[in-house]
């Protein structure tokens, strides 16, 4: 593959600047986006750029909360069931590990990777990048981590996992006594905090903030 970086020039500025719509390729200039406002494509109406309220502090605070909830929801059991005196409980990872015990490794990966691993990488990766930007710490590899996070985000299925837990819960209530564990409540809260984090974050703005610092990771 012959890659040529020499011909590329930087055009984008800060919150305003030249943008190419990712959906329809319309080239347009965006004037400053007010906090809380959204810039949409003049041609197809897709979102080009958001400038969420709360600056950098809100997403960082939410990310710290998400990281704590992520630990709790993964360490503590999601639910206990009791059938005829026999008790069983499981954690999120335990629900995947049962497939390893049953020698179905692919299925275990299909559950654990989107349900636990990818959300974990996204939360802690963003925490690392945001922390570095917000406190001017200049951590190494922030750009590489941000690339990784934006590639993996579509494959994070924590919210789908929660829906699965809820459906399983309804099925089990008919058969057994079910006691919800701390992990369940942590997971419920995590989904809400995670959604709030994602809506308070604009990756374009993170890239712009990383640009202001001397490149620490590439080349």
């Amino acid at each position: 593959m012959s890659l040529d970086a020499a011909c590329s020039t930087r055009i984008t500025g800060q919150v305003s600047g030249l943008y190419v719509c990712h959906a329809c390729d319309a080239l347009q200039n965006i004037a400053a986006v007010k906090p809380g406002a959204v810039a949409t494509c003049v041609c197809c109406g897709s979102t080009l750029l958001r400038n969420p309220n709360g600056g950098g502090e809100r997403p960082l605070a939410l990310l710290i909360a998400a990281a704590i909830l992520f630990f709790i929801s993964n360490i503590y059991p999601i639910m206990d069931i009791k059938i005829a005196g026999i008790e069983q409980s499981t954690t999120l990872t335990g629900a995947a590990m049962i497939f390893v015990e049953l020698d179905n490794h692919l299925l275990a990966a299909a559950v654990w990777v989107p349900g636990v691993l990818i959300p974990g990488i996204v939360i802690f990766g963003l925490l690392y990048v945001m922390g570095s930007i917000q406190f001017n710490l200049g951590f190494p590899y922030t750009k590489n981590i941000l690339v990784l996070v934006s590639r993996l985000t579509p494959f994070g299925m924590m919210d789908v996992f929660l829906l699965g837990v809820l459906v399983a819960l309804v099925k089990l209530v008919a058969l057994a006594d079910v006691i919800l564990g701390p992990g369940f409540y942590a997971l419920m809260s995590l989904i809400i905090v995670y959604a709030a984090t994602m809506s308070s974050l604009e990756l374009h703005l993170l890239w712009d903030s990383l640009d202001e610092k001397p490149s620490s990771s590439l080349e």
Partner: protein, 205 residues
């Protein structure tokens, strides 16, 4: 009403898929984004061929994921096999229609609608249609985000299997449909990602 918009490609520039950086490509087909280091193209490479290949594979996996059993239950010596549809019918017969609706739409209807939507957009692009571009772009965006919800039944089975391991009393084991399902969901997601929505806008009116 036909306003003409400037297409980045006509001016030799392209937007980076990862970080949004506007990069001047000129006559080059590919360059490295100066900001994030990812490859930048005018259009995703072999977009239509890759999207079709992944979509057809996804459709092939859709068949076993609905016909094969999702899980095996054995309760006091009695053996049973559950497919997606038998689970839906079980909830319906118990009057639990909201849950039946969730499972049916997430596992049966949604993947099918998503595959039809992608196929429709691919055909429209190949026919060079310029009709309903905004609607088709929205349809594509919708198909891209809703795909992952079909995984819900795989998670349900993993939870039930982990919890219901009560020796001779009751045990639940996963069936072959679980893996087919996961493969189908991933393949439809890859298919949607392989398609470049900018192709919808490439035909001049």
């Amino acid at each position: 009403m036909k306003r003409q918009f400037i297409r980045a490609k006509d001016h030799g520039v392209a937007g980076c898929h990862t970080c949004g950086q506007v990069v001047v490509l000129g006559s080059h087909q590919q360059a490295l984004c100066p900001r994030c280091g990812c490859a930048v193209h005018y259009r995703k490479c072999n977009s239509l061929a890759r999207a079709w290949a992944l979509l057809i594979s996804a459709f092939i996996m859709y068949i076993p994921s609905n016909t094969e059993p999702m899980m095996y239950t054995s309760s006091l010596g009695q053996q049973g096999a559950d497919t997606i549809m038998s689970g839906v019918l079980y909830f319906l017969s118990h009057g639990d229609w909201p849950l039946a609706l969730v499972i049916f739409s997430a596992s049966v209807l949604l993947p099918l609608l998503k595959m039809i939507a992608i196929a429709y957009i691919l055909i429209m692009v190949q026919l060079g249609s310029t009709r309903r571009r905004i609607e088709n772009t929205r349809l594509y965006m919708l198909a891209e985000v809703m795909g992952k919800w079909s995984m819900v039944d795989v998670f349900v089975v993993s939870f039930l299997t982990a919890l219901v391991q009560l020796g001779a009393l009751t045990t639940i084991e996963p069936g072959p449909a679980g893996l087919a399902f996961a493969a189908m969901v991933l393949l439809t997601m890859f298919s949607a990602m392989a398609f470049d929505p900018k192709l919808i806008w490439d035909q001049t009116e």
